[in-house]
């Protein structure tokens, strides 16, 4: 098993019960990264992040340094942190906001300085009640400590940070929907172009939107240097990354692992990670990057945990959520439940997504309940094809945002990999698994 000795970058304090307190944070190097950043020029801080090759940890994996460099020059710019973690089976940002909120706040302050923004918003999904309390408390303490607000640490740099609670909507994880929500509106994704909030974002002003985990990496990157971060991992996937492991493993949890040098098999079977499949059963299939991602079978367990490597194999690391389904799983039910999620969470702006998700859910439900027809399998694929033409990867899009083309992923995978199981449901009105 490849368990590398890479440093723990964002989970270094997780062993402490009081990891979320200012006292613990200061005792373990807290706010030293911010002090160092303030002693550098903003461009030099941004250059370190660029050198780190830090890919955004939200889902799309866009290089953070490049995103920053795209921020349109304007007297008023904003930084918005995306903590709306809602992709099913993703629970890594949950850990970061609850267990190390100061690390997040410090990362936000470093980014604000590098980007020279005077106002930052930390958007956290409303269901994280404790996380909201912890980050609010951390921010209060940061102000008290002189790390936020006016003239931070006597540097002459000032920034105001506001913690903003979401109110329960998956779509707000899409960055333009998040901005709409932050403006007090329904979370409707914005029509592209403009493609990037860095050009037109919050209140129409240039805005950088970064994920919680991306921000949480910044104190370490500034202190240790971008090169030290880039030396971890391989290829375009530098550093360590949090993976949320769920499903039929003995030890589900959030694990920080070195990218590329670790494989799916390591994560599922290594004793320090998943410790193997429950009941000694076998992996039937696994979802490599959240329910928007196409599935993999057991023959793909040896793929490395790298963005490009997984992309080339026809799926994505996405939000870093890996869900293991063992041989006791009914695949029709799994596909139905995922599709029901999309049907409930479609914002309703685009017809293919709004109507298609509901149709797909109803067809899948009748198959699951033993009332399906053989032609339903083709019907599912045909309807899916109307949402995402060609059913290819990366997907084509007929909708404003990527929620639509995410719907077919599990349906297409389920039918391709387990057609026989679907057919037994249809022909015999029962599940062959149990």
């Amino acid at each position: 098993m490849a368990v590398t000795d890479a440093p723990r970058i964002v989970t270094a304090r997780m062993g402490y019960d009081d990891s979320y307190t200012l006292e613990r944070y200061l005792a373990t190097g807290g706010y030293e990264g911010l002090r160092k950043a303030l002693s550098m020029t903003p461009e030099a801080v941004a250059a370190e992040v660029d050198a780190a090759s830090l890919l955004g940890r939200g889902g799309a994996g866009f290089p953070a340094g490049r995103k920053w460099s795209m921020l349109r020059k304007d007297p008023v710019t904003y930084l918005v942190v995306n903590g709306d973690e809602s992709e099913p089976a993703t629970f890594k940002d949950h850990l970061l906001v609850e267990r190390d909120p100061h690390q997040l706040v410090e990362g936000v302050l470093i980014a604000a300085y590098a980007l020279q923004v005077s106002q930052a918003f930390i958007f956290i999904r409303g269901e994280f009640a404790l996380g909201l309390e912890r980050v609010t408390q951390a921010l209060n303490e940061a102000y008290e400590h002189g790390a936020a607000g006016v003239d931070i640490f006597g540097s002459g740099f000032s920034v105001d940070v506001v913690v903003h609670p979401g109110a329960g909507a998956y779509i707000c994880g899409e960055e333009t929907a998040l901005l709409e929500s932050l403006e007090g509106k329904r979370g409707f994704p914005r029509i592209k172009p403009p493609f990037f909030p860095a050009a037109v974002g919050l209140y129409g002003q240039p805005t950088v939107v970064n994920n919680v985990e991306t921000m949480s990496n910044l104190p370490w990157i500034v202190l240790q240097g971008g090169k030290a971060f880039a030396a971890l991992g391989a290829g375009r996937s530098a550093g360590t990354r949090l993976f949320a492991l769920s499903g039929h493993v003995k030890r589900p949890g959030t694990y920080e692992v070195e990218m590329v040098k670790t494989t799916f098999r390591d994560l599922v079977y290594a004793p320090v990670y998943g410790a193997g499949v429950q009941g000694g059963r076998e992996v039937k299939a696994f979802i490599p990057g959240g329910v928007s991602a196409p599935w993999f079978g057991p023959d793909q367990l040896d793929l490395p945990l790298g963005q490009d490597e997984v992309g080339a194999a026809g799926s994505m690391l996405g939000s870093g959520a890996i869900t293991v389904m063992d041989t006791s799983t009914c695949m029709v039910r799994a596909v139905w439940r995922i599709t029901r999620f999309f049907a409930r969470e479609s914002c309703g702006q685009c017809t293919p997504c709004r109507e298609g998700s509901g149709w797909l859910e109803r067809v899948l439900r009748r198959i699951e309940q033993g009332q399906g027809r053989e032609e339903d399998l083709d019907l599912l694929l045909d309807a899916s094809d109307n949402i995402s033409p060609g059913l290819q990867w990366p997907p084509q899009q007929t909708t404003i945002c990527v929620l639509g083309p995410s719907i077919p992923s599990s349906i297409h995978s389920g039918i391709e990999m387990f057609r026989d199981e679907f057919l037994v449901h249809v022909k015999e009105g029962r599940c062959p698994v149990g």
Binding site: T41, P42, P75, E85, S86, P88, A89, T90, F91, D93, Q116, S118, R125, G126, E127, A129, L130, L132, E133, T136, Q137, N140, E144, V150, G156, S158, V159, D160, V162, V163, H164, P165, G166, A167, G168, A169, S181, E183, G184, K185, R186, G187, Y203, A244, L245, S246, G247, H248, P252, T254, V291, A321, T323, T329, A334, R337, I338, F341, R344, E345
Partner: protein
């Protein structure tokens, strides 16, 4: 249900002041109203509309988009059971059926005594403890049927009141006041910084030009 109490109104004004545009306070104000009343009353929506400068219909239209904002009364305890993929694999459907029997209501409904609203929830991002259950958005762990029954008994007896506030109370930590950065100070700093950045870029360019003119290949670095 009443409009905002003086204390709620004071906190509402504070929330509005946090944002460059007041409409941004709409969702936080809805949370605040739910903290006062347990749900989002029509009167509260009217008051929020006035505070952020939109119509009450726009407040309702926005609030109804979000799962956590309730335009109908809910129980003292909102019990949410996630049934999404990771929890499905962990037996969530069975737990939800058990909960429906135990509480005597279908998912989405409130018990006759107004104590519990049961919710068939989407992923709550705690997928290592399945099936994931929250009460008023406080995580209570992955629960067996027996543990669920115990939870219900404890809630009825008020034994969890310390950790689980009534429905609507989301964040009990208040932002400390008086921390805003004066706008003119920010503008002046931004201007000074922009000038400094431009000067550095100019200096770096001049240095590079001087270097290429000399052609000596010396390693020069900008500030």
């Amino acid at each position: 249900m009443s409009r905002f109490t003086p204390e709620t109104a004071a906190r509402a004004a504070e929330l509005v002041s946090l944002y460059p545009e007041r409409r941004s306070a709409l969702v936080p104000l809805c949370h605040l109203a739910q903290e006062q009343d347990g749900w989002l009353t029509p009167e509260a929506m009217e008051e929020i509309a006035e505070l952020v400068g939109v119509t009450p219909a726009e407040v309702r239209g926005t609030a109804s988009f979000y799962d956590m904002l309730h335009t109908e009364p809910v129980g003292r305890y909102l019990v949410s059971i996630c049934t999404n993929i990771a929890c499905l694999l962990g037996g969530a459907e069975e737990l939800l059926e058990h909960a429906e029997r135990r509480l005597g209501v279908r998912a989405g409904r409130t018990t006759a005594d107004g104590m519990f609203t049961l919710e068939d929830a989407e992923c709550l991002a705690d997928c290592h403890r399945t099936p994931c259950v929250t009460v008023n958005h406080r995580y209570v762990g992955g629960l067996s049927a027996e543990a669920f029954d115990q939870l219900v008994d404890d809630l009825r007896a008020g034994r969890r009141d310390g950790e689980i506030p009534p429905h609507g109370t989301l964040v009990r930590v208040r932002r400390s006041g008086g921390l805003r950065v004066p706008r003119d100070q920010v503008a002046a700093e931004r201007q000074a910084m922009a000038a400094a950045v431009a000067a550095r870029a100019e200096a770096a360019k001049a240095a590079a030009e001087a270097q290429s003119a000399q052609g000596d290949g010396a390693q020069g670095k900008g500030a």
